[in-house]
């Protein structure tokens, strides 16, 4: 049984910190940052949409890094850490799809637009990582499952840039007209709002990751005790 690493930040402190950070970012986004001149109120979802998307990428990257450590150093904790990171990534990925389709509805009147690269990429990644869970749950726990999960998680790191390139390349024959985003020129409080939201969402993801990880470890230990 792997020994729990002694984390310096205890879970309740992390939970309180993320609650405060998320509240502050909500306040700044809704009450301090001005409405966008062109897009109006609906642009506010962008602060969350972009932050969540970045967080999801970060989770997948952590998942792949832990998978790499498992294969390379045979770190016994890495398997569960990789799985939990990917799990959080999928949860945030679903949120990207939801916020993205709300944005699409308000901007273009459709719940789904194939011309948004980010959304299409997350759909591909969503399918890919759902298959990761299917793979993981159809192999019995043990070294083989660890290897399979790790190798498949590493495929994800290659798939992200390749799919991104593919979606870009598909544009000329799938969507000749390209919608332009107006939200690029952030200034003043809008920039502050994004810069506060981004670390808050990352902190929230880290807290959720730690909560799930400690829950899963407890579960594992209980099962071992019952068998002993």
């Amino acid at each position: 049984m792997p020994v729990d690493r002694q984390y310096r930040v205890p879970l309740p402190a992390l939970a309180v910190a993320s609650l405060i950070c998320i509240t502050v970012s909500l306040v700044i986004v809704f009450f301090v940052a001005p409405n966008d001149a062109v897009l109006g109120f609906s642009q506010k979802i962008f602060y969350f949409h972009v932050s969540i998307a970045f967080t999801a990428y970060a989770c997948f990257a952590v998942g792949a890094w832990k998978a790499f450590r498992l294969l390379w150093k045979r770190d016994p904790r890495a398997d569960l850490e990789s799985y939990v990171a990917v799990h959080q990534g999928v949860i945030f990925g679903v949120l990207v799809l939801i916020t993205g389709s709300i944005w699409a509805k308000y901007s273009w009147g459709h719940w789904w637009v194939w011309s948004e690269d980010e959304l299409v990429l997350f759909l591909v990644l969503f399918l890919f990582y759902c298959a990761y869970f299917m793979l993981r749950f159809s192999v019995d726990a043990g070294p083989q499952r660890e290897n399979f999960s790790a190798v498949y998680a590493l495929f994800g790191v290659v798939l992200v840039p390749v799919s991104f390139l593919a979606i870009r390349l598909a544009k000329p024959f799938l969507h000749p007209e390209i919608f332009t985003r107006h939200g690029a020129n952030l200034g003043g409080w809008m920039l502050v709002a994004y810069l506060v939201t981004q670390p808050s969402v990352l902190l929230l993801a880290y807290t959720l990751y730690r909560v799930e990880l400690s829950g899963k470890r407890l579960d594992l230990r209980l099962r071992e005790l019952r068998l002993a």
Binding site: V124, M134, L135, Y152, F155, L159, A166, L169, P172, F173
Partner: protein, 212 residues
């Protein structure tokens, strides 16, 4: 024995097995032709050439899946894989040999399928044929790797399409792009890049799929 003679021996074993048992190739051929007939009835009259070009790629991916699903079945049924892992050869040779054998089956199926496609629908450009060959490399590299994982799971045949299709999306983009745009160079280069990246990844990590 050197690495390449290991690969040659293993690939030869698969090709001989197919030549004698004829398990996979006739099924792939029948499947791809039947798919074209289904496509004829699913495309309404006067639908565009472009639609048919896209469907060619659907047919190729699914035919490949049929072959890939069978790829590791002899190893599983006769427990050959345990023996191969014990043999003093590099484990990636197992993957490379199986990928080469699957590539041979897929190309053999396409030698019939592409003329049939041009007979049923429309003629094919040189770029499309180049794209098909490049795509076959990627399909076989990734598909064989995933096939080896899928046969070791409980879900088996069910799992391979789920694992493979998200990874096949870039191949379809490259292939369809090369077939329909004026300058296909960019798409062919993309397919080449895909092949190189995923082949390298599969080659480097296959050991972890067959060992514990």
């Amino acid at each position: 024995m050197t690495y390449f003679s290991d690969v040659r021996a293993l690939a030869r074993k698969d090709l001989l097995l197919e030549l004698r048992a004829k398990d996979t190739l006739p099924a792939m051929l029948l499947f791809v032709v039947a798919t074209f007939v289904v496509f004829h009835f699913s495309l309404p009259e006067h639908s565009s050439r472009l639609a048919a070009s896209g469907l060619l790629w659907v047919a190729i991916i699914f035919t490949a899946l049929l072959g890939l699903g069978r790829a590791f079945v002899p190893e599983r049924e006769q427990r050959v894989l345990d023996g191969l892992v014990l043999a003093p050869c590099d484990r990636s040779a197992i993957w490379l040999a199986k990928a080469i054998a699957t590539f041979a089956f897929l190309v053999a199926a396409e030698v019939v399928a592409l003329p049939v496609f041009s007979l049923f629908f429309h003629g094919l450009r040189g770029a499309t044929i180049a794209a098909v060959l490049l795509a076959d490399v990627g399909i076989c590299a990734v598909g064989t790797f995933l096939g080896a994982m899928a046969v070791a799971t409980r879900a088996r045949d069910l799992l391979l399409p789920l694992l493979f299709l998200p990874l096949a999306i870039p191949i379809v983009v490259g292939g369809v792009g090369a077939g329909v745009v004026e300058n296909p160079g960019k798409y062919l280069a993309f397919l080449g890049l895909y092949d190189a990246m995923f082949a390298l990844l599969c080659w480097a990590s296959f050991e972890y799929v067959v060992t514990e």
